[in-house]
């Protein structure tokens, strides 16, 4: 024991770092809010803190976990993304949550794309799923932008969630989906790009 090593991932706009004690207030604010309703929330302070502490424990137990998403420019946090597989999860999940006031700028897409690439290329994952509440349309839309497809045959967590299966590493390589993700992230990085209409993560 002594240290827990968590890799740091960088993307065009973001730095993904392991969850640190100082990031807890941002996490708490989101899990106290209605935003967390599809992630088992809203939670009381005790439950929120235990979940946050469990984010760190997940890295120790599984060897992977969720990163805190920081903006490169300001270091402020905008959400979390990464791998998630607590007890009773049938498969390894790519998961995300974006703070309510940070949605609509493509951060979740940029972070989950980087996390998935890391797991595929550095950790040898041969695939992943995302478990999504069927009412969580923003997340379903993100899963589809990531190229994930609803898998009606796959085991769910408890029957109340839909399973979205991500493209396997080979299928993703040099694919139209991969190009589309890069293009979309490029748009969000462009200061002149001011999307109107539906805000998406």
């Amino acid at each position: 024991m002594g240290h827990l090593d968590i890799p740091v991932l960088e993307t065009r706009r973001l730095v993904l770092r392991g969850p640190e004690p100082g990031d807890y207030p941002d996490f708490k604010a989101t899990f106290a809010s209605y935003r967390s309703r599809f992630m088992g929330g809203p939670l009381n302070p005790y439950e929120t803190w235990m979940l946050y502490a469990a984010e760190i424990g997940h890295w120790e137990i599984r060897g992977f976990g969720m990163w805190m998403i920081h903006l490169k420019d300001s270091a402020e946090t905008v959400g979390m993304a990464g791998g998630w597989q607590p007890a009773v999860w049938p498969e390894r999940e790519i998961a995300w949550i974006i703070w309510p006031d940070k949605a609509g700028r493509g951060y979740a897409l940029e972070a989950t794309d980087a996390a998935r690439r890391f797991f595929y290329t550095q950790r040898g994952w041969d695939g992943a799923v995302s478990y999504i509440d069927p009412k969580n349309l923003d997340s379903i839309r993100l899963a589809e932008r990531l190229g994930a497809v609803k898998d009606t045959e796959a085991r769910t967590i408890d029957g109340n969630d839909a399973v979205y299966r991500h493209p396997a590493p080979e299928a993703l390589k040099n694919s139209q989906i991969a190009d589309g993700i890069a293009l979309e992230i490029g748009h969000y990085c462009d200061p002149l790009f001011k999307p109107k209409g539906w805000a998406i993560d």
């Binding site: 968590i6 807890y24 005790y46 469990a54 760190i56 424990g57 120790e60």
Partner: protein, 175 residues
Amino acid sequence: MQITLTIPELETERLILRGPKAADWEADAEFRTSDRAQFVGGPFTRMVAWRNFASRWGHWAIHGYGMFTVTERGSDAALGVVGPLYPDGWTEPELGWVLYEQAEGRGIAFEAAQAVRRYAYDVLGWTTAISYIDAANQRSRALAERLGCHAEPGAAHPFEDADIIVYRHPKPEVC
């Protein structure tokens, strides 16, 4: 990046209190999903039990202290958890303990609780400590009293809808 996780080992006459290990999960899950967990807010689903389990590492990382797994010398099997506990919402840092069924009746919880109280006072520098105990949890109340604790009627605690007694431990000077 590195997260510091320095967890000492505490030794007593019969026990070794060590940091959590992934292998402790099944024993802990058995307790947390059973009726035995009724006095700590359970029984819980396996999913919620796992959150509690995984949180132990985060607790050490965030506070620099946390729950120890209780083992007997010569065996690494988890018999329970004991240690200083201070999640969000707690009115003050607590000394907590949970003993699994197979370890009951041999004074193990008493021995372990004494060791972590000494650790909290001598190493962490605590000047006082409490334990939250469900009023119906007779065994745990008996242990608190054996440890010299006194109930503090009316003391604040975070459990709105539960009948909880706040036990105050004796001061460091008299332990």
